[in-house]
């Protein structure tokens, strides 16, 4: 296990309990095996217990790929700890594999000596064949020798456990994820009651299924407790998190909650216009529940309509938002340009996924940064923000909305699949601590008996008069216009001036965002620069390198356009600058372009987050040169 293997105490059955600091578990099985559910429940009970947790769901794009196939394997990894953790872990300590395909695709990530729990009932000839095994690896003495293998007949034991309930054998077998969960709960001394409560409310209309799942959970637990197969079990004490009340939150939940919050405290109507797309749809799902908060959700006919309706809602005076993923942004691009030239406030969320085209819909990547910056026709600048982790989505999305309104511009918010689906404990804020947006819709004419929609303030921001206001009737549009009337103007000097003003307005935002912070020495051998969902891996790697005595610092950017004003000084304070990214060097390109600093890349495009160890060994190799 991860560390501090001290025999601590014994349980009532006389089995010893060892204390551990951090554990990484992965549940994997067929898409229909309920692995996401098992992982989510383990996360919940660990969070409620008081561990720090970090999760990595990993599932195929197909809803139900052929049963037993390699392509249909669904996994859920989580790390839980008595310390602050920032990633779901590199190597897996305990792997639960529900079928041969899951074993084949996941066993490489299990550390040597790690615990491997398999459902041996699923290792029949048919499943072995589908996974490409010529013989049963569970019966081969040379296979799996480096792991602590536990063969558990989960299907049969689950069927036995629920035998008296009169379920069909298919229904009975479907409970086996709860058997696996119960076993792992015993192994890590978890309190199953939050899961039992969840089962009761989930199956409230079907008491038999409540009973079946709870029986399966208990059977798994008893199996660990009673059989000789498991000699020890483990405890991971509570983490020393900042005091306060917590709940578990995913990035998409936090994004939706942040949107609803900023609208509520600013006393504004929130209108979400979107089109279903993985991995952004949960934002739509969450917001569509919040009708009693005055949140309107519009499921448009396509991404173009979603963006267009967002613009219409912004013109109408709502806090207008949309969320999608990369392919959706491609479709929205023309309308985003209309948002830029009309200078209307709105937030566009891109929950990035693997691309190009349909790419890897369920896997993470951060390769849409340049698309956000430049993916429109003409000179079309807009602010770009990126959250660092799930909880950060709550705060930064409010900041994005604030910038949109205060600077009258569309704002990009670049989340990613890893942040969106990943969960972590979230310190519940006090509503009274949150800052509303001050919104001013003019009611008086600002010109000589006319309303001038493009009369700009000292920050080059235009006023936001809304339809329904007497006397302020005005027209906006996609054609070039002149200040301050907004009337169509094709003049050469005017176009230059308007282009410059739109760009300068976005640059001015740098005066209103926080300065960039650095973790580590102010000057030194090497600076790691990261953005978005790589935060946890890079932060953990930096701490590890620092613990090794290396002169390494870390700057994580949440504001990508404009950059914080002090960024140039920071970049020029280190002998080397490295930007690890889940793309081919997009931030690196922006930094090199803007600051003429020799930023080096460390790129990974595998649909997966960085392992901490990958970053540590790469940086060490650079420092040794």
């Amino acid at each position: 296990m991860a560390s501090t293997d001290v025999i601590h105490s014994e349980d009532t059955n006389g089995k010893p309990i060892e204390k551990l600091e951090t554990v990484v578990i992965r549940f994997c099985g067929d898409s229909g095996d309920g692995m996401q559910l098992a992982g989510t429940q383990f996360t919940n009970v660990s969070a409620v217990f008081g561990n720090d947790v970090s999760t990595l769901p990993d599932f195929p794009a197909e809803i139900r790929a052929p049963a037993g196939s390699l392509g249909g394997v669904s996994g859920f990894q989580l790390s839980f700890s008595s310390q602050d953790i920032f990633t779901p872990g590199d190597e897996v300590d305990t792997l639960v594999a529900m079928n041969p395909a899951a074993l084949k695709t996941n066993s490489n990530d299990l550390k040597r000596g790690g615990m491997l729990i398999v459902n041996e009932d699923a290792f029949d000839k048919s499943n072995l064949g589908k996974a490409g095994y010529e013989s049963n690896p569970l019966e081969d003495e040379n296979e799996l020798v480096s792991y602590d293998l536990h063969k558990v007949p989960m299907t049969r034991l689950t069927r036995d456990a629920v035998a008296d309930l009169g379920l069909s054998s298919r229904e009975a077998e479907r409970c086996k994820n709860f058997f696996a969960l119960g076993l792992v709960y015993w192994l890590y001394d978890r309190d199953p009651s939050p899961t039992e409560e969840w089962v009761k409310s989930k199956f409230a209309k079907n008491p038999t299924l409540i009973e079946a799942n709870i029986l399966a959970l208990k059977a798994g637990r008893n199996y660990g407790d009673i059989t000789e197969a498991f000699r020890v079990h483990y405890q991971v004490p509570k983490a020393k998190l900042a005091p306060g009340k917590y709940r578990k939150i995913t990035g998409n939940e936090a994004t939706a909650l942040g949107f609803a919050t900023i609208a509520r405290i600013s006393n504004k109507e929130l209108i979400y216009c979107g089109y279903p797309i993985t991995p952004a749809s949960d934002i739509l799902h969450e917001l569509s529940k919040l009708k009693n908060f005055g949140v309107k959700t519009f499921q448009a006919e396509d991404e173009i309509a979603a963006m267009s309706a967002t613009i219409g809602a912004a013109f109408g005076g709502a806090l207008a938002i949309t969320a999608t993923s990369g392919p959706g942004i491609c479709l929205k691009a023309e309308a985003i340009g209309l948002g830029v030239i009309t200078e209307l406030p709105m937030v566009i969320v891109n929950v990035q996924r693997g691309g190009p085209s349909t790419g890897l819909p369920t896997k993470t990547e951060q390769s849409d940064l340049l698309q956000a910056m430049y993916g429109r026709n003409g000179e079309s600048p807009l602010p770009v923000l990126a959250p660092a982790n799930p909880g950060d989505c709550f705060h930064l999305i409010q900041e994005a909305m604030r910038i949109a309104v205060e600077f009258m511009t569309p704002v990009f918010f670049l989340s990613d699949g890893y942040i969106a689906n990943g969960a972590e404990p979230w310190l519940i804020p006090e509503v009274s601590d949150l800052k509303p947006i001050k919104i001013n819709h003019p009611t008086e004419r600002n010109g000589d008996d006319v309303y001038l929609p493009y009369l700009r303030d000292e920050n080059l921001v235009r006023p936001w008069a809304i339809p329904g206001t007497p006397g302020l009737e005005h027209r906006i549009g996609g054609l070039e216009k002149s200040d301050p009337t907004g009337n169509v103007a094709y003049g050469d000097e005017n176009h230059q001036e308007m282009t410059n003003k739109r760009a300068q307005k976005i640059e001015n935002i740098a005066n209103f965002i926080p300065e960039q912070t650095v973790e580590g020495p102010e000057k030194g051998d090497l600076l790691l620069v990261s953005w978005g969902g790589t935060f946890g891996s890079v932060k953990t790697a930096t701490r590890r390198l620092q613990a090794e005595g290396k002169s390494v610092a870390h700057a994580h950017l949440r504001y990508l356009n404009p950059f914080p004003k002090n960024l140039e000084t920071i970049l020029k304070s280190y002998k080397q600058v490295v930007a690890p990214e889940l793309n081919n060097g997009q931030l690196r390109m922006l930094l090199r372009d803007k600051y003429l600093v020799d930023v080096q890349g460390f790129d990974k495009i595998k649909g997966k987050p960085f392992l901490v160890s990958e970053i540590v060994s790469h940086i060490n190799s650079l420092l040794e040169k």
Binding site: L257, V431, R475
Partner: protein, 339 residues
Amino acid sequence: MSVELPVLTAKDYASDQEIRWCPRCGDYSILAQMKKVLPTLGIPKEKFVFVSGIGCSSRFPYYMDTYGIHSIHGRAPAIASGVKLSNPELQVWVITGDGDALSIGGNHLMHAIRRNINLNIILFNNQIYGLTKGQYSPTSPQGKRTKSSPYGSIELPLSPLSVAIGANATFVARSVDVDVKHLEATLKRAANHKGTSFVEVYQDCNVFNTGAFDYASKKGTKLDNLVYLEDGKPLIYGQNKDKGIRLNGMNRPEVVELGKGISEDDLLFHDEKAEDSSLAFMLSRLKYPNFPEPVGVFRNVSHPVYDEDVETQLKETIDSLGDGDLEKLFNSGDTWVVE
């Protein structure tokens, strides 16, 4: 309490912008009728919003002293839907053309109509792309020679009204640009309908497709080529009101002459309120020169209105769940306390 509205005239709805349509373009007449209609609706001026896409007709909002967006090609119905969602009290007009609405924006048109959002969509049909200087459009007749079809278009045209009726439009009408009284009355009825109103206006592009609608607009011919629809009235037309349309034994429309044993009672009677849209659809298929083309209101039925239902659902949710409480929302689900 009724609030007295200031008395406005067409002039009050004219913006200070120079109108840049070609001289004698049919758009002028539509603009003029619109400016006449708005002051008669009993709606304060600040509540009107005009949304357009791209094309000659889409310059329309710039010429109206109301709120307006001249947007991007084909997207006006979607933008207008967003405006309406933000403030259902606004009266939102969509100004579009045959290319804008039926080609690049076909999807948005269909879905705005399907949802029955309270919009007034006016489609200026000139059967040509004017702003791009003369390519065939989705309503150009087969064989039409244009810059992009020098040997004649091989494509079959769409009927805008058939499309709208197919999407279950609740208000469907047609008028002709120069038929000013009829156009004014049609726009007014469209404005007063709750739900999506869809109006096709035959509009002459006198530069790239001049005379396309002469049969429907010239004094000498139009009465023989158009049938004016009136609810509950038989379909009679012709200079001398001596022709009509009846359904034959196969339930298909045919042109008949009145007299010689055929009376008005034998003719098809218009029923704009029929819930079943097949009569309206059949009327939308009547094409010159085989038939007179119907103008007026094809269909006018009452269905639930999207933007009203959005508001109703919000209210009902507040009634059943209580007004949203952020603190409760933050603390929902499993929570735990770290000391």
